[in-house]
């Protein structure tokens, strides 16, 4: 699918704004009411989601050099991944906020798929269980997590090189 800025803008203008529950404190009843109030996803929703996801992937990709630094730090030191997780979350939120305010960026085709790799990395952190006595079969030891981080890092470096003369 090709990014279409005009269509993205049109869909944003005609669709209800997306809402996150982070930072809110809802009772069960309010939570159910919130879900009740949200529109049922239709064709327009899926197309809009795709355009917005492309734009957010571009934002992650533009930050790749910082991501690479943080991942290198992880691979060469302790498994302190909070900064990475927060960066990922902040960029997702910033992208959604830009779109909500109708501020659109034309995504670079080279950014396609970068966000999925970062997303996989964050999911890997979620499966990390340092204590072997509590670790479930699907969870990861530090060694396994390092191996996954390394694999994702290689994919990133190969698929999304840092800025160099030929990329500028």
């Amino acid at each position: 699918m090709q990014y279409n800025k005009r269509k993205h803008l049109k869909l944003l203008k005609s669709s209800p704004k997306s809402e996150s529950l982070r930072g809110r404190s809802l009772t069960d009843e309010e939570f159910v009411k919130f879900l009740d109030s949200r529109p049922i996803a239709d064709e327009n929703f899926f197309e809009l989601r795709e355009y917005s996801a492309m734009m957010i992937s571009h934002l992650h990709w533009e930050n790749r050099e910082h991501y690479f630094e943080l991942i290198e730090k992880l691979l060469n030191g302790p498994m302190h991944f909070l900064e990475l997780r927060k960066k990922y979350q902040a960029i997702n939120e910033a992208g959604e906020s830009l779109a909500a305010n109708l501020i659109l960026l034309e995504p670079d085709g080279k950014s396609k798929g970068f966000d999925l790799l970062i997303g996989d990395l964050i999911m890997g952190f979620d499966l990390y269980c340092p204590d072997p006595s509590l670790r479930e079969s699907n969870e990861l030891s530090e060694e396994e997590l390092r191996d996954i981080v390394q694999k994702i890092f290689i994919e990133m470096k190969e698929g999304y090189p840092e800025n160099s003369k030929e990329n500028v």
């Binding site: 982070r22 939570f31 879900l35 009740d36 899926f46 997702n92 999911m123 699907n138």
Partner: protein
């Protein structure tokens, strides 16, 4: 959803509209659980989630799974694990339950890309283990 599963995933509770401050915790405590795991967080002197918080999170997952617009998406592969997935398309909130044990696996708000990729390829997160 067991108490243990709810407690160790408590850092995802804000995605379900639960505010840690209501239960005597802060976002910093949740960050510490996300980073260190629940046990190491407690061993390091961190505040554990109280019973009320864990019960509220269990209940919230249940309310979500039972909601009319939470779509039962069938079995998907989540980081290599076969799971039953329930997802709310508009918000991207999802829950996953392991196929073999039927135990809760995880649940939070997916990014737009992750949610779209799930619809297209029936996976959430690639399997890097093999």
């Amino acid at each position: 959803m067991t108490v243990w599963s709810a407690a160790k995933h408590i850092h995802h509770s804000p995605d379900f509209g639960l505010d840690p401050r209501k239960y005597g915790m802060t976002q910093k405590d949740l960050d510490s659980i996300a980073k260190n795991g629940l046990i190491d967080h407690i061993r390091d002197g961190g505040i554990p989630p109280n019973n009320e918080y864990v019960a509220a999170f269990q209940q919230r997952w249940e309310r979500f799974a039972e909601h009319r617009d939470a779509r039962k998406c069938g079995i998907a592969t989540i980081m290599g694990e076969q799971c039953h997935v329930v997802k709310h398309d508009d918000t991207g909130i999802f829950l996953a339950f392991k196929v073999d044990s039927r135990e809760s696996y995880t649940g939070y708000r997916l990014s737009l890309r992750q949610s779209s990729n799930h619809d297209k390829n029936n996976t959430i997160g690639k399997n890097y283990k093999n």
